[in-house]
């Protein structure tokens, strides 16, 4: 592909920039191969790394699939869906905290601190562990050090949430070259090969966030016209609806309220998620849980499921309509619709999107992977490998300052193309005043108290003079990451004016620096031993799964040779289990996985057949 004998006139090869989708439920890392982006699998072969982190009783950090197993055994030390807590204060997340098994430490007003055992971690630190894992996966796969990354964020993330994501990157030892909005990244992944022109809507319903963006594609420029969304809406909400029902059932059937028994809740959560995912492909299924000798089962069909989730789907449509108004387009002008996020596999979601935009949505790319793929493309744009594409994104929320009476004066309107800036001149109100305090907020409401407080900027060391004489020009600039930068200048002297920033939510630079140091210490502590333990946790999981599968009638449908092969693989894994070699354990896990492929297939067939026949599995 491309010119073979291209002569390079002294351009030094720019470092590789990987693309990372730091998701609520799963995270992925991708890179730009010769002509197309590819997702990088982890050591276990899985492309999706569950966004779950455990700080074990042994003082180790475990990430991903292995950490997900700890959700059952050490729920108080295990964090999932941490993205929902990024850039937030404790008052913002009361609703989700009800569901989380972990504890919140004291002093979480401006930055949430999670108490895991004897240590506390902030959401950017937890996210950094996930990023570190992805970085490691990429380095192993590519055989080179990875230092630079593009990280995606929901388009509707505010300044504090973006800053928190950038902090997470820094703590993980990554230079975050750009934060890219997830729907925009998805559009980039879709529009890569095709010379497309026209209006595209990207509907992104992820685990915890919803975004809608409308873009205009024109000669390689991806121009976002408008974006809208809800940073508190996603598949998690659907899980919680189902979980609530399951908890009520269990309370009445077993006569015990298990809602504060974290292990029981996690098992139920896993079961409802499985049922939810199955319902995208079969007309009905069962939520099924075995727990401490007790059994809970409930049949759920698609009709009931859809009735249940209709309000969630409906909540996505308002932002879509507003987005079209802001973009100045009507449904019939939208040429293509792209679906992103696992929740868009739900048939009801697809139908609602198709009805609203009057276009059959694209589903060629895996909705779980498309954002990471687009991030990798943006990485290649930044490293200079791709020169004919450019993203022009917008700021999702208006930026304003608080004026007299708590009223907001808007300086930069939402859906302005970024980078965008605005200047405002401030003066003093009393003689000899040395400081002016500026409160910057983000949001669409008229009163500052109804908007999101971003930061207070203190213009310091103003030369004493009579009231109203000082003239300080403050420039607010939203950069290409959607993050606010503030500079001030004394118009009388032309000199730079010092500004002290007090972020309302988030970490100071010093705090981030300290976390970088701590994180390195933790990451290196007993790295080898940790890998062995991780491998053992995975081995436990697969051994348990195989043991359970043997109870299934599908086991009997296998040939003798196939059954023997499985048993042999199990024995080999058990032998490898007690060696202190994680590579050996993993190799045997892979072998067992291979040996049980047929069994898994047969089980799936039986399940589908049973479902179609309408009989109980």
């Amino acid at each position: 592909m491309g010119a073979t004998f291209q002569i390079d006139f002294g351009h030094k090869k720019a470092a590789r920039v990987v693309g990372i989708d730091l998701g609520t439920t799963n995270s992925l890392v991708a890179y730009m191969d010769v002509s197309s982006p590819r997702v990088i699998p982890g050591e276990d072969g899985a492309k999706l790394v569950p966004s779950v982190v455990t700080y074990t009783e042994g003082g180790e950090i475990v990430v991903g699939h292995a950490a997900r197993e700890y959700l059952l055994t050490q729920p108080h030390r295990t964090v999932y869906s941490v993205k929902r807590l990024m850039g937030r204060g404790i008052a913002d997340v009361q609703e989700e905290l009800k569901w989380f098994p972990f504890q919140i430490a004291e002093g979480s007003e401006s930055v949430i601190r999670l108490q895991l055992g004897e240590r506390t971690f902030t959401p950017p630190e937890i996210s950094a562990f996930i990023l570190r894992q992805l970085k490691k996966n990429a380095e192993l796969h590519l055989g080179e050090e990875v230092k630079q990354a593009v990280i995606t964020v929901p388009a509707y993330f505010n300044d504090a949430q973006r800053q928190a994501t950038k902090d997470a990157g820094r703590i993980a030892g990554l230079e975050v070259m750009r934060l890219v909005n997830e729907p925009t990244a998805a559009a980039l992944a879709y529009g890569l090969d095709k010379r497309k022109e026209g209006i595209v809507a990207v509907y992104d319903l992820g685990g915890g966030t919803f975004d809608i963006s409308i873009l205009k594609l024109h000669e390689g420029i991806f121009e976002v016209l408008a974006t809208n969304g809800d940073t508190h809406l996603g598949g998690d909400d659907i899980d919680n609806l189902l979980l609530r029902i399951a908890l009520e059932d269990v309370a009445s059937e077993w006569g015990v309220d298990v809602s504060s028994d974290h292990e029981a809740v996690q098992r139920l959560r896993r079961a409802v998620i499985q049922a939810k995912e199955e319902l995208s492909f079969v007309p009905f299924t069962h939520i099924e849980v075995q727990y401490r000798g007790r059994r809970y089962q409930r049949r759920i069909d698609r009709e009931l499921f859809e009735k249940l989730i209709a309000p969630v789907v409906e909540r996505t449509l308002g932002p879509c309509r507003n987005c079209m108004i802001d973009a100045g387009v009507k449904p019939e002008q939208i040429d293509e619709v792209v679906l992103v996020g696992g929740s868009t596999r739900i048939p009801m979601v697809r139908a609602a999107v198709e009805k609203l935009f009057r276009t059959r949505p694209h589903t060629e790319l895996n909705p779980d992977e498309v954002v990471a793929l687009g991030a990798a493309v943006q990485g290649a744009i930044l490293s200079g490998d791709i020169e004919d594409k450019l993203l022009l994104d917008v700021t999702p929320l208006s930026l304003g300052i608080e004026t007299m009476g708590g009223v907001v004066s808007k300086l930069i309107h939402r859906n302005s193309t970024i980078p965008a800036s605005a200047a405002e001149t401030f003066t003093t109100a009393v003689d000899g005043q040395r400081n002016v305090l500026i409160h910057v907020v983000q949001g669409e409401r008229e009163l500052a108290r109804d908007c999101r407080s971003l930061a207070r900027f203190d213009l310091k060391d103003i030369e004493p003079m009579p009231a109203g004489m000082a003239r300080i020009e403050v420039r607010f600039l939203i950069d290409a990451n959607g993050i606010l930068n503030v500079t001030a200048r004394d118009l009388r002297t032309g000199k730079e004016q010092s500004v002290e920033v007090k972020p309302s939510y988030g970490l100071t630079d010093e705090q981030v620096e300290a976390m970088i140091r701590e994180s390195i210490e933790l990451a290196e502590a007993d790295f080898r031993e940790r890998q062995v333990r991780e491998a053992r946790v995975e081995a436990d999981a697969i051994l348990a799964a195989v043991e359970k599968a043997k109870q299934n009638e599908a086991w009997l449908e296998l040939s003798d040779a196939e059954r023997e092969a499985v048993d042999e693989a199990v024995n080999k894994l058990l032998l490898a289990y007690h060696c202190d070699d994680h590579l050996l354990i993993r190799a045997q896990i892979d072998a067992l996985n291979q040996a049980t492929l047929k069994l898994a297939e047969t089980m799936m067939d039986t399940a589908v057949r049973a479902a179609l026949k309408g009989t109980k599995i």
Partner: protein
């Protein structure tokens, strides 16, 4: 004549140094930045073409492998480009920009001086708004009527504005800018009324 921050040669008025190709500190003047004549009526297509063309070469994405000074100028240049495009493509914002540059005071967001010729209508409108807030649904049709009237008035003003643009472009007469300023004040007032009616009637 400016000199290039990098090589010291005279960079003239161009975006990049003609000698060493380094990005220069951008001009904050929107018209100069876009390289289009300082006229009030302008070709929207040409403006858009320039916007895309300049985005392609100035965007920060293109400068991550370059010197920090260039990165800073790229960020500055792109924000001027985006802000300028937003202002120049909108006739009202564009006129306000030209007025400010010419030293005219432009009324803020909340102009509260009622244009004398509208006194009576505004009075009636406020009555109807009060009635609606008190729960009188009959006021609704009255408000919708008033809204239609104001929209019509606003459209007329837009036509007048266009005519004044051409008049100014032809003559360069400062007095015409004064006329434009007054028209914009009245237009802003009308626009605020429309917004207020929409808010109350829940459109």
């Amino acid at each position: 004549m400016d000199t290039c921050w990098q090589c010291g040669s005279s960079s003239g008025d161009s975006l990049f140094c003609k000698l060493c190709n380094a990005l220069q500190r951008p001009t904050p003047d929107y018209y100069r930045f876009f390289g289009i004549p300082k006229r009030l009526s302008l070709d929207a297509k040409e403006l858009q073409r320039r916007f895309y063309e300049l985005s392609r070469i100035l965007h920060p994405d293109r400068f991550l492998q370059r010197a920090p000074t260039e990165q800073r100028y790229s960020l500055e240049a792109t924000s001027i480009l985006n802000d300028g495009y937003r202002v120049l493509r909108d006739p009202v914002l564009r006129a306000e920009y030209v007025l400010k540059e010419a030293g005219f005071e432009v009324a803020g967001q909340r102009s509260r001086d009622v244009p004398p010729e509208l006194l009576e209508e505004v009075f009636e409108l406020n009555m109807a708004l009060e009635e609606l807030r008190a729960g009188d649904q009959e006021a609704r049709s009255q408000l919708e009527e008033a809204r239609a009237k104001f929209i019509k008035l606003r459209d007329e003003m837009d036509r007048d504005l266009q005519a004044l643009f051409e008049k100014y472009d032809a003559s360069g007469d400062r007095a015409v800018l004064g006329e434009i300023r007054n028209l914009l004040d009245r237009r802003k007032y009308i626009q605020n009324l429309v917004v207020e009616v929409d808010k109350e009637t829940g459109v």
